[in-house]
């Protein structure tokens, strides 16, 4: 007899505004029309996924002082799309990325509580922070927040929305037509938050929603980010890496929970993952290679190289060798509005590694970039991919995956049709939704329980 296998959680990431998304493919549809969102959401719901995930960025990205035009550009408003999707789905969780820097707690709490009501308890919030003046130029406040205060604000922002969500306990509305009593108590929704970042008070307009508060996601793998998540998140959105790195991260974060009085099950770890399916493993490898070349054109390769080198390299041939000079290290950066450039903590060292790799394997700029950036996480037959996903979870490297298709809106169809049934056969993925709320899908304790 074997012990019950851990259940996998799956989510669908609407393809983003980066080069993972292949817009040049004939199958690629609109990234804006509502019908594309409906297609992906219904596919995910048909496959019994936990939730759909939307990213957000509040300024179009720029490089060399110009709007970046090689990737998909533009997206609709997160809250509005999620509320509309609630009308065309029944069970699927609806997760939105909302910035805690360029919003106010009262408004965000009002929007998420509303979304939770309108979806019958399916709302989730991926809390992100940004502090840059570049994005701030689109907002009343401008780039007002020093970088070292971003977690302070994020923490206080989340705490303030928590106060707002809990300002109604859920039993205030009696709505007794006979006696004329609508509210049980005269001060329902009263709250006050006085912290270093916020000074707000009054009565919250939205009575308690089905989940009490949305499921809270946190991204970011710095020590501060991990601690923030362990203290207050329901799930972590991470990058997918090796099995070893996954297990290390998983153990580290889950190990922090006890200090906050939480059980390991109360925080899910969900890396973003990409996949390529084929009839045979070789067929899948070939497709994966083709997709990588679609994702990294010669022009894109040069742009990537510029992001590390932090200088104009437009005169370089993408099919030629890497630049001989070192990256430019300074405060200003050639690429703006792009989270990934912050990953290059030591550009000189990274450039040296890239040069060594290119020389050892005789790689052009484009071939090097194809190798060092964003190779697909899972490649193979449906059976091989199902096995790999399951093993990753059973080995304690994650609780599931947020799958990022590379084609909008049909990029998840094949996975839903072929991999999901195999996971169900293995007994590691639901065949029917058991609960109605996202908290229930994720096996999270009820808020306030």
């Amino acid at each position: 007899m074997t012990s019950p296998r851990k259940q996998i959680h799956l989510a669908a990431h609407f393809p983003g505004v980066n080069n993972t998304t292949v817009w040049s493919d004939p199958a690629a549809g609109s990234h804006i029309d509502f019908s594309s969102f409906v297609h992906l959401a219904r596919t995910a719901e048909r496959a019994k996924f936990d939730f759909l995930f939307l990213a957000e960025g509040l300024r179009l990205r720029e490089q060399n002082g110009l709007i970046y035009d090689l990737d998909v550009v533009g997206r609709p408003d997160t809250f509005t799309v999620l509320a509309a999707l609630a009308a065309v789905t029944d069970r699927l969780g609806l997760a939105g990325t909302i910035n805690s820097t360029f919003n106010e707690p009262y408004e965000v709490a009002r929007q998420f509580a509303t979304l939770d009501h309108l979806s019958g308890g399916r709302a989730a919030w991926n809390v992100v922070t940004s502090w840059d003046e570049f994005t701030g130029e689109n907002f009343r406040r401008g780039g007002f927040l020093p970088q070292d205060q971003r977690y302070v604000r994020a923490r206080e922002f989340l705490a303030a929305t928590g106060v707002l969500f809990d300002s109604w306990s859920g039993d205030e509305i009696v709505a007794d037509q006979e006696s004329g009593r609508f509210l049980r108590v005269p001060d329902a929704g009263r709250f006050a938050v006085h912290s270093t970042q916020f000074d707000i008070e009054g009565r919250f307009a939205v009575p308690r929603s089905p989940q009490g508060r949305p499921v809270i996601f946190q991204a970011g793998d710095s020590d501060e980010g991990r601690e923030f998540a362990a203290a207050s998140a329901d799930a972590i959105f991470t990058r997918h890496g090796t099995l070893e790195a996954g297990r290390e991260f998983y153990a580290d974060v889950k190990g922090r929970l006890a200090r906050h009085g939480r059980t390991p099950d109360s925080l899910k770890i969900l890396p973003a993952a990409t996949f390529v399916l084929g009839d045979t493993d070789a067929d899948a490898q070939e497709k994966a290679d083709l997709i990588r070349h679609q994702q990294v054109s010669g022009q894109t390769a040069i742009k990537f190289l510029e992001q590390l080198w932090n200088r104009d390299l437009s005169s370089h041939d993408p099919d030629g060798p890497l630049p001989a000079e070192d990256p430019h290290v300074g405060d200003s950066h050639i690429a703006r509005g792009r989270a990934s450039v912050r990953m290059y903590r030591d550009p000189i060292a990274t450039a040296r590694q890239w040069r060594e790799l290119a020389e050892a394997k005789n790689l052009s700029i484009r071939e090097l970039i194809i190798q060092v950036t964003g190779r697909q996480s899972f490649i193979g037959t449906p059976s091989a991919v199902a096995t790999a996903l399951d093993e990753f979870v059973q080995a304690g490297a994650s609780d599931g995956f947020i799958l990022v298709p590379h084609i909008t809106p049909g990029g998840l169809d094949e996975f839903a049709d072929t991999v999901v049934p195999l996971l169900q056969e293995r007994g590691v993925f639901r065949t029917e939704y058991e609960g109605t709320t996202l908290r229930e899908h994720l096996g999270l304790p009820a808020h306030g329980a």
């Binding site: 817009w23 040049s24 804006i32 509502f34 409906v38 960025g57 300024r59 179009l60 709007i67 035009d69 090689l70 533009g74 609709p76 408003d77 809250f79 509005t80 799309v81 509320a83 509309a84 609630a86 009308a87 065309v88 919003n103 106010e104 009262y106 009002r110 929007q111 509303t114 009501h117 309108l118 979806s119 130029e137 689109n138 907002f139 009343r140 401008g142 509305i173 709505a175 037509q177 004329g180 009593r181 609508f182 049980r184 005269p186 001060d187 329902a188 929704g189 009263r190 916020f198 000074d199 707000i200 008070e201 009054g202 919250f204 307009a205 939205v206 009575p207 054109s297 022009q299 894109t300």
Partner: protein, 397 residues
Amino acid sequence: MPSPDPTPHLALALDGTGWHPASWREPGARPAELLSAKYWTELVQEAERGLLDLVTFEDAMALQSDHPFRPDDRTDQVRGRLDSVLVAARVAPLTSHIGIVPTVQVTHTEPFHASKAIATLDYVSTGRAGVRVRVSARPDEAALFGRRDAARVDPTGRDDTGLTELFAEAGDYVEVVRRLWDSWEDDAEIRDAATGRFVDRAKLHYIDFVGEHFSVRGPSITPRPPQGQPLVTALAHQTVPYRLVARSTDLGFVTPQDGDHLAAILAEIRAEQAAGGRADEPLPVLGDVLVFLDDDADAAAARKARLDELAGAELRTDALVFTGTPAGLADLVQDWHAAGLAGVRLRPAGNAHDLPLITRALVPELQRRGAFRTAYQESTLRERFGLARPANRYATA
């Protein structure tokens, strides 16, 4: 000057269970369902069955209160409501013709967020979105945001400096929202495989708005919506807000009490329109009426008296209160239309009672008189009001 449209427009204003504070106690009011998607969907679907032009959703940041400047402690009225932009988005995919117009408060919110939200509502409704902008002078709403003090508005109306400033900022807000809608030209997305470019960046525009209260760089993150410019609307009761209606909106809501008042309001709006250089542009204006309908006028009056008694006070409201029959209301609609309004926005005293009488009695009555559409014809809300899809202010070709 008669309205250019041959038949009057009918809009519906939704607020809770209806506009009478005791309406939640009427049979069929469903007060415990006000936070459900089903409640709002069914109301809007009923309005669509009646071929109404559009539905507006009342909204405010603060919890409802009987007091003009602070929370009250009443327990006998509806309290609690949802964000109207999201309610509108939730309803949009389940309807197909009716215009959908939520409320956005412009004093404490970000025009960048509002612009992309309404653009997206226009996408999810395929060209049926509008927005009603409203200002906030309430100190209790300012305290929910904690970013600035409430505007100092003189309650006697003698000094309109504070009000003028508040509405000037609202005008800036609308300007930013509109520029952001135009910040993508319609054909900016090119997907040009030959050059590898997804967009033509020459067709994306910084809006570079700099005003007294805020500056916004742009472009929007959301491409230009289907209507180009979703309908901007506002409700106005006096000179300063009439100026906002005249200079910044596509559709105004006003509250005439009688024919003379109506003429005076329209004269003032048209004068402000001319002063703002928009004399030649169509600007339809709808008159708000709060309605108690019944098959005979006495029953309607008796119902109002009953609700007033339940509320413990006579209904106080900014709009004309009509108690009477659908035929009587049809007379009023036609009179106002003949006097130069594009139509009316009806505020049902109680949704459960009055909405079916609007859709199933008033509308057929107007149709019998040849004074209302018998089918939806236009595909966008702008078209329904005879408003062209505007050229993009940034397009050079």
